[in-house]
Symmetry: C2
């Protein structure tokens, strides 16, 4: 089995198929159609197992069975298979989250909790940044040294919030960041004080409504870790610290 194929099998497994199911499905697409023997001959799935595996695939709507002797199997088209799997996923997703939504605790109580949370990995920091930005009602301060940390969805959220009347200030010493975000309607840009920007490990900083804060650092291998806090005393104190230090060294270079 090639590396590509085992990657595809792994992907199918993460979609909920067993490895046998994935292999049989792929083999049938390679063959067009075939019998249990045909499938077994081009995979490492034992022939005796093909029958039950194929039945399970039929249950999933991924192939059709020709009742003849020998039994022939035919995969549904790639488009139909994708649609079927997608419908199934959407159905399960709705069912799952419908209940969660019904029992979820409104974050009203959470506002007074003194919590600092940690978020690991770039994608999740991205998510958290967008989340915080979209909660802004009055002011946003967004800063980063690295253009790669300004994702499309962050840019879009900043633009939306600016349009909604939120005061948006972008801090960056990097030209591309300044140009990209400064081009957005209603977004101001500025150069941050030296002391913070000099730190080569600095990632991003987000301050929302002077109440919520996110700070991230980028590791040597470019992995990002962030801490954040919303509506907490911690956040207020940290924000005040940061803003105070800004005033100590205003626009120094």
């Amino acid at each position: 089995m090639t590396a590509d194929e085992s990657e595809a099998v792994d992907a199918f497994e993460r979609l909920g198929l067993t490895s046998y199911e994935a292999k049989v499905f792929i083999a049938l697409h390679r063959l067009g159609s075939g019998t249990a023997r045909d499938v077994a001959s081009v995979t490492d799935v034992p022939r005796s197992q093909v029958y039950s595996v194929a039945e399970s695939l039929e249950d999933r709507g991924l192939l059709e069975i020709q009742q003849s002797n020998p039994i022939r199997y035919r995969p549904v088209s790639i488009e139909e298979a994708q649609t079927t799997l997608e419908e199934r996923f959407e159905r399960e997703r709705e069912r799952a989250f419908e209940y969660v939504d019904a029992v979820k605790q409104e974050s009203a109580t959470e506002e007074t909790q003194e919590d600092i949370w940690t978020v690991r990995s770039r994608d999740r920091v991205d998510d958290r940044v967008v989340d915080l930005l979209s909660q802004a009602e009055e002011t946003i301060v967004f800063g980063t040294r690295l253009p790669s940390l300004v994702t499309d969805s962050i840019e879009r959220t900043l633009e939306e919030q600016a349009a909604a009347g939120v005061s948006v200030l972008v801090l960056s010493r990097t030209d591309t960041v300044q140009e990209r975000l400064g081009a957005l309607e209603g977004v101001e840009t500025a150069i941050p004080p030296t002391h913070r920007d000099d730190d080569q490990r600095s990632g991003r900083i987000v301050i929302v409504d002077n109440k919520s804060l996110l700070l991230s650092v980028v590791d040597g291998d470019l992995s990002e870790t962030a801490i954040w806090s919303a509506d907490s005393l911690f956040a207020s104190v940290l924000i005040q610290l940061i803003e105070a230090s800004d005033e100590v060294q205003p626009d120094a270079d």
Copy 2:
């Protein structure tokens, strides 16, 4: 645990979580946030297991971990969780089918194969009908007694094909079917000969380009099973049989 909750847990399991992961995730949404003890006290997940389960959920991007003593856990918002799962699903789907698409056998050879395929369950018959209809180049005959067997996507495909110049003929003894499909631009309707329509188990009939055929029957419990064949001798023979019997009893009532 309520019935609703165990349904939600099942749904999460089908989305790829373990039952512990589902329970912890749900519990944390119910609590807003909490420690391992909190979670264990409202679920049947042993406290000692909460730690590892929560780590696995963090890896999936479904919760965040506060490094304190005791450790606190916080679920990401429902929206973020859904987005994360969806992105994961789409990523895996692409990876899986990219390979299948690369190795798939073009159905060119299949055209001459003498195969009759069986399709079980309504949804899949729907899919197959749409598939056959969209392959039409010259003529379509579509017949059904039951209005419920005319799905939106079937109606849409019939309309598209009629607009593309395909001759579309709808056979039905049922008024609602006649009215619904007859209203489409370029679609003709007619009343089928008696002998076939009298069969209470008849489902649908699709004839495409006089080369492909689908016939379905509806069981007592309304489950549907179809046979179909495309570009085969079988299909031609069956189509000729059907059309011949039409001529024997033209418009009889």
